[in-house]
Symmetry: C2
Subunit: 397 residues, 2 copies
């Protein structure tokens, strides 16, 4: 077997690989602050059951049959309505394509846009694992200066002017994975002003966490400022409803969305038809916003618990970003601490996290770590942070 | 926007495009012999409902949560058992990866294997639409001489020796789409003998229809003869259970299956977790073989009805391949008839089919057409064939 040349670059997910190491410990007592998953206790199981039952009684059983590559027409309609309500954007239904997770949106965008040697600009840090979708297309990732407000617009402009072959920017402006940061309105405007100076530049705006805001005001998406069709917007039901169903969508301008649909035919013909019907019925029978309010309240309590415990137990050298939503808290330790090395000690102490190096295009960030606050109870969060504090203290010089 | 260079070659599915044209007619009276779908009246809806209900009551609701990229461990175990029973192959569980349809198996194999300019050898005709998965990787398709028994082994050997850069062979040895042919045992052996002379050559064996045999004896898969790990085998529940669930799998040797799993992380992180659990419960609660027997009996009746009606109504110039299973019948008309042009007349007469050109790597086959016998009732099949016979007769010189 001779693999394609591109496979030399392809490597597994860092986070899933840490996950496997952690799973190998197989200890019920291990508190996984490394997870990147919603709280399953908050899945609306009864409502989803009620949404699912009628599917077996429909004439012609359309949810068990083949359907359209573009996705269930009713679902696309409901997503357009949801985007209007939750994101305050008017998106024509023809510009929406159903995908298998936001991950597939990154993947389709990469196939459509990236030639070998093209550059993808990313935040420092960013969700590099998602960008594994781009690696087979032999691009290069370059991190752009990122401050507390997100990617720095001036740095983006400099990068765009000085680095050859920049084709795409990948950003998560809402409660970013891993830092939890949300870009303020001013930064979004500045960013889009720069983007619009370069009409061939494309932006992938990954927004799986946007609805999980539990503090502060709504901030419009980058897509809202997109007058030239440069922004590919990725939305998902994974964090507000259920990730197991893998129902997500991509929004792109007219020419591109058709190309993405054609690519999806080749990728997997179409997404799961049954799951799309489940989401349709759920949305018709329930008020998703009311459910999201419950998630926000629960996640706020968990986030605040984690922040409080970090402040109480961590040494002052640890710097914490306090998020207004999402699923993650980012902690920076002194630069002499390598969080990849420290993980073994943490596991011994009964707690896990994702080491910072997983989130940097250039392999830096070895002193950072990502903590998840959604998947554990407040009690477990307290205990987990206490354990981790002990490990961190031992590593402070 | 500047698309990646590869996008110049990417084009939509011919079959789905014909499907859209046909759907645009929107006539309830149109008899769609163009479909490529199972009979929804035969979906085991009650059994699937019983398999689905318990999923909402499980502690921790694993089917609504994220899961493993490789797939649900229980499902992989059940697939290994199924392959033993139905395909008489012992496949280690580590060599199975769950995919979103067989289509994703073709796609993942293409990313892993194909460099720009590599050649994929195919049957004449073949399911070119599935191979849209390979086009973004800038390969070339070359058809190899194919007779009533499948791809001709000597022609394959000549092709392999004379054509530079042959990397992969794509074949559907069981009830092929579009011809319905099943390769006899002797041909499979001869084919694999040639393949094994070239250890770097890889074979994608697409087997979505294998279980739908309603006549003749079981014939072992190409994978059964694969001693050097050259065969990538694609299996699916789409045709035996439900295509809407999009649950399929790929079997590949140790090194490759790991690569495919890593690629899948980038493609869509993982397949629908809920659907995998549905299939697990269905398999635990039911005898799939008994269900498949029902499908076989029903499809045999439909196939025989269509064959009988073709013989009764078509002019003798029409040559028909009689299948022993699957979903399709292939009709060859005299070479002066262009079935792409004739489609408009057929639609006017209230019947549709897929023109032959869709299935040839080199744009030939303009005198062939594919008919589906699974999705319509025997009554509708009779009427559809009668209508089509009228159109064909008008076109005979």
């Amino acid at each position: 077997m001779i693999l394609a040349e591109r496979m030399q670059r392809v490597k597994g997910s860092e986070i899933r690989s840490v996950g496997k190491k952690i799973a190998a410990r197989n200890s019920a007592d291990l508190i996984k602050l490394s997870a990147g998953i919603p709280d399953e206790a908050l899945f609306p199981a009864e409502e989803l059951k009620a949404a699912t039952l009628p599917l077996f009684d429909e004439p012609l059983l359309p949810s068990l049959q083949y359907g359209l590559t573009k996705g269930d027409t009713r679902l696309i309609h409901l997503i357009a309505e949801r985007m209007k309500q939750a994101e305050r954007m008017e998106i024509p239904e023809k510009n929406i394509l159903i995908t298998t997770g936001c991950q597939q949106g990154i993947s389709l965008s990469s196939v459509a846009l990236l030639d070998r040697g093209d550059v993808v600009l990313v935040e420092k840090p960013t969700y590099m694992d998602g960008l594994n979708a781009s690696i087979p297309y032999e691009c290069r990732f370059i991190g752009v200066e990122t401050d507390d407000d997100g990617m720095v617009a001036e740095a983006l402009e400099t990068a765009q002017r000085t680095i050859p072959r920049v084709k795409m920017i990948y950003v998560i402006p809402n409660f970013q994975n891993p830092t939890g940061k949300a870009w303020p309105l001013k930064r979004r405007r500045e960013f889009m002003d720069v983007v619009q100076k370069f009409p061939d530049l494309m932006v992938v705006e990954d927004n799986p966490y946007g609805e999980l805001r539990f503090r502060g005001e709504f901030i419009p998406s980058l897509k809202s400022f997109d007058t030239l069709g440069q922004v590919i917007y990725l939305g998902s039901f994974s964090k507000v409803l259920s990730p197991g169903l893998r129902v997500a969508w991509v929004v792109a301008h007219d020419d591109l969305i058709e190309k993405l649909e054609i690519l999806k035919e080749g990728f997997d013909l179409q997404s799961n038809q049954f799951a799309q019907s489940q989401v349709v019925n759920y949305l018709l029978q329930n008020d998703l916003t009311a459910h999201v309010e419950k998630l926000r309240a629960a996640y706020k309590e968990k986030c605040d618990t984690m922040l409080r415990e970090i402040k109480r137990t961590f040494p002052p050298e640890a710097k914490v970003i306090e998020p207004d939503g999402g699923m993650f808290i980012w902690v920076s330790l002194p630069e002499y601490i390598n969080t990849s090395d420290m993980l073994a000690e943490a596991l011994d102490a009964g707690v896990s996290y994702i080491p910072g190096i997983s989130f940097f295009a250039d392999g830096r960030g070895t002193n950072g770590l990502r903590l998840n606050f959604t998947s554990n109870s407040c009690e477990r969060i307290k205990l987990g942070i206490e354990r981790l504090a002990g490990v961190v203290k031992k590593n402070i010089r």
